[in-house]
Symmetry: C2
Subunit: 374 residues, 2 copies
């Protein structure tokens, strides 16, 4: 029952592993592209797979609103509905609901909120979130939790974290265990080390298939985030996957892998694909910038994505200036491929004992970039 996780090698705190689910194996460290509404925006699922992505993230909040969990279940689950037969992780819906300030009401039992689409009233509790994620047929179910903003007082974070831990227990109890499916707990505690420790202890008492680090990348900045990551992953079980939620930029991911994190998700590569921001080994590039107008070179030398294989920067610039969908399609593809190449690079470097060198080259490359343009 549950999920299997095997760690093949460690270098420093970094881990090379394999998470085994009903729908296939996820090699870690892994990046999960985000498929908010049952689609990775502007990508065919076979194209997502072609980038090397082995797992997607689906958003419970968006899917419960549209098309609704019952409909997805009726259509055979999210894998079948969206034509993605590899693993899927779903979040609990909590993060999006908590962000609906003014439209939601939080109690111990759960949270009542109104849909941002049409104002329909919904109720989300740990039990309800488990039910929805079950209907979606998610391979990795996330506990419902509350995420405190940054900055928050120690007292607020303690109170919120303790409620999240009670919700974690209710989530685990409501989760229906099946072979190749699992549930992850979520560590909270904001930037307070003793709260992170208390949260980790509570989660370990309950027992999960994996452990997420929640409540980071919410405005505290990379330095502060790395301070927390210097200790937070170590508080979680050594033999289970660790997932840093909603992170992040390429250098955030590299820093977190060095600190012992195994899994990531972020809208960055897909959203940036829609706003003309490219991720490359030279650092980020804004393809709308006029200096690309007549540039016959590919976006990134050596990248094997369709964009870099067949098109010039001049063409991509033209597409984005004209707001053409193909510009979004090609750049989204490249950006996800960039992220997946980064993860493959990190995995290979752990395997081949070349992690220091790989990371040094990564940072050297990024500094040649166009960060000032963004």
């Amino acid at each position: 029952m549950g999920l299997k996780f095997e760690i093949d090698k460690k270098v420093g705190k970094s881990r090379l592993g394999r998470l085994i689910t009903k729908h296939g194996v996820v090699n870690t460290p892994a990046f999960m592209p985000v498929g908010t509404c049952g689609t990775v925006k502007a990508m065919l699922p076979e194209s997502v797979a072609a980038t090397g992505a082995e797992i997607l993230l689906g958003n419970t909040y968006h899917l419960m609103l549209r098309p609704g969990a019952d409909l997805v279940e009726k259509m055979g689950g999210l894998h079948k509905f969206m034509n993605w037969d590899k693993p899927i992780l779903t979040d609990s819906g909590g993060f999006q609901v908590m962000s609906l300030s003014g439209l939601r009401k939080l109690k111990e039992d759960g949270v009542t909120f109104r849909s941002h689409v049409d104002g329909t009233k919904f109720f989300l509790s740990p039990e309800e979130s488990m039910k929805i994620q079950y209907k979606l047929d998610s391979n990795i179910t996330m506990c419902l939790d509350e995420c405190t903003p940054y900055p928050s007082t120690y007292e607020d974070c303690a109170k919120s974290m303790r409620m999240s831990m009670r919700w974690a227990k209710r989530s685990k109890e409501a989760f229906i265990d099946r072979d190749g499916y699992g549930i992850f707990g979520i560590q909270q505690g904001n930037v307070y080390k003793d709260l992170r420790a208390e949260s980790a202890e509570e989660l370990k008492k309950i027992g999960f298939d994996g452990y997420a680090i929640g409540g980071l990348a919410i405005g505290e900045g990379q330095e502060k985030m790395f301070e927390v990551l210097d200790y937070a992953p170590d508080m979680l079980p050594e033999d289970k996957p660790r997932y840093l939620m909603g992170v992040g930029r390429p250098d955030d991911i590299v820093g977190a892998v060095l600190r012992g994190v195994d899994m990531f998700d972020c809208v960055m590569p897909t959203r940036s694909g829609r706003t003309a921001q490219a991720f490359t080994k030279y650092g980020p590039i804004n393809i709308r910038n006029a200096r690309h107008r007549e540039d016959p070179r590919p976006l990134e030398e050596g990248c094997d994505c369709p964009l870099c294989s067949h098109y010039s920067r001049a063409y991509l610039h033209h597409l984005h200036k004209c707001n053409e969908i193909l510009g979004v399609m090609l750049l989204t593809w490249h950006n996800i491929r960039y992220y997946e190449r980064l993860m493959q690079g990190l995995r290979n470097a752990i395997k081949n004992d070349t992690l220091d060198q790989y990371v040094a080259e990564f940072y050297a490359g990024q500094q040649q970039g166009d960060i000032e343009e963004l």
Copy 2:
């Protein structure tokens, strides 16, 4: 020099042919998807090719504005710029410029206009249009002409058509002949038979690689259009391809093939892909309609496009309700594939002497459809 056109078979007025260009063969009757700004909207070029399309239409007006013909030439021509190595036909820019009422000034020499994008002033003449289409490396260059609106008086149509014929002569003189490249004249004359005849005679005197029928599908309705098509194609040379510009709906195309037309272009399949309108053998379908919400069936049974092979109507409905780009991508692909299947069906039917039966089945299918929804 020029283009070769071979007619393999005739059934009634319908013709099965092959147009041979520098970039490959186009089997006729042929439909050309429209790649306005150097991209068939929401499609990778390899996906366009996978639909069976053997030739694209590019818009001189849009490309001269953005990114500019000089830039496209510098990048190796439109084929290379947009990664499409099959034939390309470009229009002359005239039709779009003439539509810029208030922003353009027409004289015998040419037309001065302002860009709809940024107000920049441009001048387009037959010579200038030839130069631009040369820089784009278009396989089939279209003469610059003026298209009268519907309805127009006989006098206005006569005057306009005669200027278009003078422009046709100037276009031909300015065109640089190369092997595998050609230029098409455009018959005008609106719905007036003797003007159509006069126009055809003028064009034949000049001599072209192919002949277009212009000035139809501009609001006169299918009945009126078919009345004109009952005679207009017959006025054009038997041994050259005939191209009905900007047409049309599937039943327009079927009717025109029966009347001896060989080539078509239309934004219908691509534009409809963006507005949730599907073309199917059952007739048109509006996928946003609530009755598709829980429908597990493919959009069209028997269609081999990715949409119909892997997704339900419920999923496509969901994507369009959420304004997801993937909904546009999948439906555009289906719609173009539908058009290309229709053309393949017509070609096979001519070849196999089953055209009557094919056309009868086409109309029977269309009447089962959802036309009332659109």
